[in-house]
Symmetry: C2
Subunit: 327 residues, 2 copies
């Protein structure tokens, strides 16, 4: 029986999940109403996007309990939720959640982000990934000792987990760096839009980029990426494969840096979990295989499971609102 609406509300997309009390996903919806692409400005934009996606769920199932994670809780979101300092677990997230009164009598609990403040004085932040990690850890999180988890993305995260708690994490702007190099520098000029090389050509170009990263010294990136132009200029690489080559260089750099940082924890792990789905995660899996010689586990999208854990930690399934919702 439908009991909860769970929203993964990011910058460029909104995904909604209708769940039962045990976290089973009954229905999934997706829209392009990310917080930077709302149907109206101000709070109305969020309200309209919510009603448009979830109004029918609310009315059909009389649901009043909802949870959300991601940029919806940022300074540019519906309501700002704080960054909770590490170490933090699902209960820390629940204790600092903020609520917003949505249309149709629904109260949405928005998850906070996380911050990590290492001794070097350069803090790190995440917003949205903490819920994906909660989903990856699952209910038996406390039985884990130490784990390293990777979340590829616009800003990839390498997350150190101990006893079900996020102890530390490290962001790499790799996805955004790749996009910026491709869209905003001369490198994009030789890369044809929408033209894909044969799969084996793409894989070879990607592996060649990873190989460059493997032999790189400190500071070499700005030199190495220039070859994504000259190899094309000199006819030594098919233009359609230059994007895969560049992707290999920048992802490879992240992986080499992570290998230096985590050492045996990364290279000897036979179960390094990679959270996410799609082409980007497949690239990380292949890159990790080349750099570390180990095959990571691709966990897929763990946000729905994490949102359910967050809702449970909030006590939504025993609260008055849930009693009303399921009554």
């Amino acid at each position: 029986m439908a009991a909860l609406i769970a929203l993964d509300w990011g910058t460029s997309s909104l995904r909604g999940f209708l769940m039962d009390q045990d976290g089973k996903v009954l229905e999934t919806r997706a829209s392009r109403h990310g917080i930077q692409n709302l149907p109206a400005s101000g709070p109305q934009g969020f309200e309209q996007a919510f009603v448009s996606m979830c109004g029918e769920w609310v009315e059909r199932h009389h649901i009043q309990a909802a949870v959300a994670c991601g940029m919806v809780g940022s300074a540019q979101g519906w309501r700002e939720a704080p960054y909770v300092p590490c170490p933090a677990d699902t209960h820390s997230l629940a204790s600092q959640a903020v609520s917003v009164n949505a249309p149709l009598g629904v109260k949405i609990m928005i998850a906070p982000g996380l911050s990590y403040d290492p001794a070097n004085g350069r803090p790190d932040v995440m917003r949205g990934e903490e819920i994906q990690i909660a989903g990856a850890l699952g209910d038996d999180a406390n039985t884990d000792s130490e784990r390293l988890i990777v979340l590829p993305g616009t800003h990839s995260k390498w997350v150190e987990v101990k006893d079900g708690s996020i102890e530390a994490f490290h962001s790499y702007m790799t996805g955004e760096l790749f996009s910026a190099l491709r869209r905003a520098t001369i490198l994009g000029r030789l890369m044809p839009d929408g033209e894909k090389p044969a799969a084996d050509v793409a894989a070879e170009a990607f592996a060649r980029g990873i190989g460059l990263a493997l032999e790189s010294g400190p500071g070499d990136l700005a030199h190495q990426v220039f070859s994504a132009r000259t190899l094309g200029l000199f006819g030594r690489m098919e233009h359609a494969a230059l994007g895969d080559y560049l992707s290999g260089i920048v992802i490879g750099h992240e992986l080499v840096s992570a290998r230096n940082r985590f050492g045996a924890r990364m290279t000897e792990s036979v179960s390094l979990p990679v959270i996410g789905d799609g082409d980007l995660c497949a690239r990380y899996v292949e890159g990790i295989r080349i750099v570390c010689g180990c095959a990571p586990i691709l966990l897929g999208n763990t946000a729905p499971a994490g949102l359910h854990r967050f809702a449970a930690a909030l006590g939504l399934f025993s609260s008055a609102s849930f009693a009303r919702a399921s009554g």
Copy 2:
């Protein structure tokens, strides 16, 4: 007496120099008619930009000899000039120059670019810098044994010169990387346009960025640059200084990579020449001072001297056209 028109014709600007036979610059003009900003499309754009800047020089001094360097010789230029493979000197450039018949009876000789094809199979190219280097080497170039020269820019070049000949060079896309990170990623959001910090605050932020590069391992760039956001988010760095900090990180990475590549040739040199002018070169001078403990020589703009040497190598000052021009 005016004898030569020399043009430094790049992507975003056109600079013209009226010279006498000895290379003395008699007049200088500048316009925004770089090859991507011409007053008309096709060859007419180049012709109009040329007449607009140089027509009066041609008519007043009856000059028919002109030389040009830079992107005007690229595939998107007025006429494409080849890339001459290294090793190459001013005479190699002259031997592969291409000519274009400009309005008013002027023949412009366009300098070729240079290519370098190292054993690793990843070629490198330059177009315009080879003339600046010719200018830096001067007429007594053959008395030099070995030299390393730095040309900061959109694509910085580290150039190895031996006996007046360019033996090898290495590009770093540092300038374009900085612009792309600032304009096309989230990092720019906290950087206020046109707002400058106090000079000492800017210098400290830049030095802090260089310091990050100095302690970096392979592949760390995409992680380190994220701190140009979080230090602002956490109020640990004035937003107006974040751009200087980011500049320090990316320039520092280039310098650390170059130090690994060139070793003692870079760090023990008391006379590492830096070609160029303005704020960017001042940053490289300061960065080299921090990274290597040595003070490089800032040579300023050597393009006019290089264009004069190129013209001399072409034989323009003894040719019929020069005889006519000076007759």
